[in-house]
Amino acid sequence: MNSPRVQTDWASPVMQARVRSRYAKERRFRFMGFAALALAGAFLLFLLGTIFANGYTGFLRTEVKLAVEYDPFTLGIDSSALAGPGGENALNTANFQGVMTAAANARAQTLGIAAKDLVSDGAWLALREAVRTDPGLIGKRVDVWVPTSGDFDLLGKGLIDRAVPEANRPVSDTEVAAFDTLKSDGAVRTTLNTTFLTMADSTSPELAGIWGAAKGSLLTLIVTLLLCFPIGVMTAIYLEEYAPKNRFTDMIEVSINNLAAVPSIIFGLLGLAVFLNFFGMPRSAPIVGGLTLALMTLPVIVIAGRIAIKSVPPSIRDAALGVGASQIQVVFHHVLPLALPGILTGTIIGMARALGETAPLLMIGMRAFVTDVPGGLTTPATVLPVQIFLWSDEVARGFVEKTSAAIIVLLVFLMLMNGLAIYLRNKFEKRW
């Protein structure tokens, strides 16, 4: 039994080297773990940095100062027509395009470029708004700031590399020279792009806006919330508090767990086959988008709701039952109010996911080109992520910054929603 044992000589160089190598391995492994996290963090920073660097100029636009003559003859109206009851109508039929073209042509000729390269196709809208606020302008000659063409916009933001040979550049040398002349005259400025924040999609990047898509997202999310919040909460209550242990309950639980893992595009196929083709609902409408997203978000809310309800301690239920409350009263008067913060947090997280979802909405036709801000639940609309997808496909150079700017808008909304969820969790979370 007592076999002679050789004492390990820990101080010997061999053992010392072994220990050192083991510790080195330990440090390497630890560093690898840190490197993995750092890499993920670096990627996130790079992603957000790229988007922001590309996108912040999307909120700005370049304007050029033009001397505009509000000639009543070209416009076809005078200030007296605007004052009358048909003023709005007269304003909408007035030929502001003609006035704009005249002013742009005059200025473009002195610079040696075409008028369409100088001002945006929609620049006349600025004139109409100016007259709407001040009808006295008619017949006068004033300096007006109007949006420039897409190429000049990019020049103004420094997004066109002037070192590139002329043939490979969207703007010619003459145009660059013209732009520099304007700039030295102080006739170019960069301002906040209100069009981007208040209008809907357009074929020209300088006229495209995000508000139409944002409102489409809002309408869609309202439908989603109205449907999946009550249904989700009631399902969670039933499963957690009342459901008997039987095959039927198992079936519900299995379906919910599976639905939570079904790829989102499958919900799009369901929406297309059932809502559009079977029930004949309108394409591209927020109500169909909301229905589809509601089915997708439902499992998230049910699972979050069940966890929140489960975390309410049984003593609360026992106490309520003890003073004579019925089963329904126990849940609706005591358990549900206590579980509500948790359910709300889960709901907001589910809604944030629905806000970022693209694929199912493509299936039900929400990729339509919509130039109006949607007015109701059945009018064609698009949503923020789909707008991003559509703009990313555009060839015009000006849409790159618009896409990134739209992503910034989407991320801001997501951050607000998640921030609200975290705030609710921290404020109302109870540890029993």
Binding site: R22, R30, A36, T235, I237, I256, L269, A359, F389
Partner: protein, 468 residues
């Protein structure tokens, strides 16, 4: 009267019924007993339950009628309108009928100034009068239902009427009905996918679909068209999906996710964890369309440059590598959180035992924790694969649409999800083999992800039970 106005009126009526019945029940209590305690016990249910009982009877039957009308009403009015037209001006085909009705409805709702079709113009007043007629009938019926329902319930309000159990039974039924929605959705998915896929397999044999290697869904419209063979061999799609989602993405996501989880659970100090965990959550919260845009705009050109610089001349600007790498990064938080759960579930005694024997932390992790947590980690990875192959936007935007059967990561491949989007967003008649094939692809995707999920969840569950 529009459905919305009718519903509002019904709601108003229900509120009135609630208040009236509650007051009546309260009066019962007050009339017979002077003593407050006796007052409450003199009626079976609290006054509010009587109120709810009457309100529900007044509201629910009428509401069901109005909702049913708002679903089928339009088509009834349309049928009546067309039936009342003279035979020669009735639209013949279904398509004609639809165009006709769209015009009539446009004029009636005021969106169109006038119809192009004179017959439709003539039908407008008929449509309007029939619609008004029917709306009045429905409004009258709803009022009758509300009154009779409310009246019936009102007569039953007595001191000893058991209102609470009845109201509670109603609540219970609503709860059960709402939990049916999940089952209905599942059935809806399965049935719609199977129904459309069967239509597709009537035209294309399943053998060709599952084992054919040529994918070119563009069917010829004219007989002499070139390059529109209409071949539906989906193997290149399956390969592309596996290549991007299960191979390239996992090569990125497994090591990074696993090492992140190990660092977070074993090494990071609480303070560092507080920063690093939310960072991973942000990464998980970024919408996929943003990843897709980033992959297409930034990563794909970089990958192409890299391929050209190492001498691969046919590198395409849409590559499997760009899509796969970005998808892998998207999956990192998912793998990390699954691995995190599995590693923390390993009993502390095993870890402490190993450390007490003199093993370093990394030796403990590699020889004790990982082997013990392996089933959980594998289950998590399978779930991650199922999520990756169902991911759509990244591959739509960055992987391209060319159905290549290639193992070269610098070439463009396409995936099941990208093809579904491509097939269903063009202008195509719904019943063509091309659009139906999207549902067959959806069915395969659904079946595969379902199997992966069920298997993975079973593995994870068994693993958890082993340590509990």
């Amino acid at each position: 009267m529009s459905a919305a106005a009718l519903i509002l009126a019904l709601l108003g009526l229900a509120v009135a019924a609630y208040l009236a019945a509650r007051a009546r029940a309260a009066a019962f209590a007050g009339r017979t007993f002077a003593n407050a305690a006796d007052r409450i016990s003199s009626i079976h249910s609290r006054p509010a339950y009587h109120g709810w009982y009457v309100a529900l009877w007044a509201l629910v039957p009428a509401l069901i009628l109005v909702l049913a009308w708002s679903v089928v009403g339009e088509s009834i009015v349309a049928d009546r309108t067309i039936a009342s037209l003279p035979a020669e001006s009735q639209p013949q085909t279904t398509l004609d009928r639809q165009a006709f009705l769209t015009e009539v409805r446009g004029v009636v709702s005021g969106q169109l100034a006038g119809a192009f079709n004179p017959a439709a113009d003539a039908a407008v007043p008929i449509y309007r009068s029939i619609k008004t007629q029917w709306s009045l009938v429905i409004a009258g019926l709803a009022a009758l239902l509300a009154m009779s329902g409310g009246g019936f319930a009102w007569l039953r309000v007595r001191p000893h009427f058991r209102a609470r159990p009845r109201v509670e039974r109603f609540i219970m039924i609503v709860l059960i009905l709402s939990s049916l929605v999940a089952i209905l959705t599942t059935f809806g998915i399965v049935l719609s996918l199977i129904y459309e896929s069967v239509e597709f397999f009537r035209r294309v044999s399943p053998i060709e679909f599952l084992f054919g290697t040529n994918w070119s869904p563009q069917t010829a419209i004219r007989a002499d068209q070139v390059g529109s063979s209409g071949a539906f061999g989906a193997v290149p799609l399956f390969w592309g999906t596996i290549f991007i989602g299960a191979i390239i993405a996992m090569i990125v996501a497994i090591p990074l996710g696993l090492m992140s989880a190990i660092y977070l659970t074993q090494y990071a100090k609480p303070k560092a964890r507080k920063i690093m965990k939310p960072m991973l959550e942000v990464l998980a919260g970024v919408p996929t369309v943003v990843y897709g845009y980033f992959a297409a705009l930034t990563v794909a050109p970089a990958v192409r440059e890299f391929a050209l610089s190492i001498g691969i001349s046919n590198a395409s600007s849409e590559s499997a590598l760009a899509a796969g790498v970005v998808m892998g990064i998207m999956i990192i938080p998912f793998v990390s959180s699954m691995a995190d759960d599995s590693i923390t579930a390993v009993p502390a005694a095993m870890r402490d035992g190993s450390l007490a024997m003199g093993a370093t932390t990394s030796e403990t992790i590699k020889r004790v924790l990982i082997p013990a947590a392996l089933p959980g980690i594998v289950g998590g990875v399978l779930l991650a694969v199922s999520r990756a192959i169902g991911e759509t936007m990244i591959v739509v935007m960055a992987a391209g649409l060319a159905a290549n059967l290639t193992a070269n990561p610098f070439q463009s491949v396409t995936t099941v999800t990208a093809q579904i989007v491509q097939l269903l967003t063009g202008d195509q008649e719904f019943d063509s083999a091309k659009t139906l094939s999207a549902f067959a692809l959806g069915l395969v995707l659904f079946a595969v992800t379902l199997c992966l999920n069920i298997y993975a969840l079973a593995v994870v569950k068994r693993y958890r039970e082993a340590y509990e």
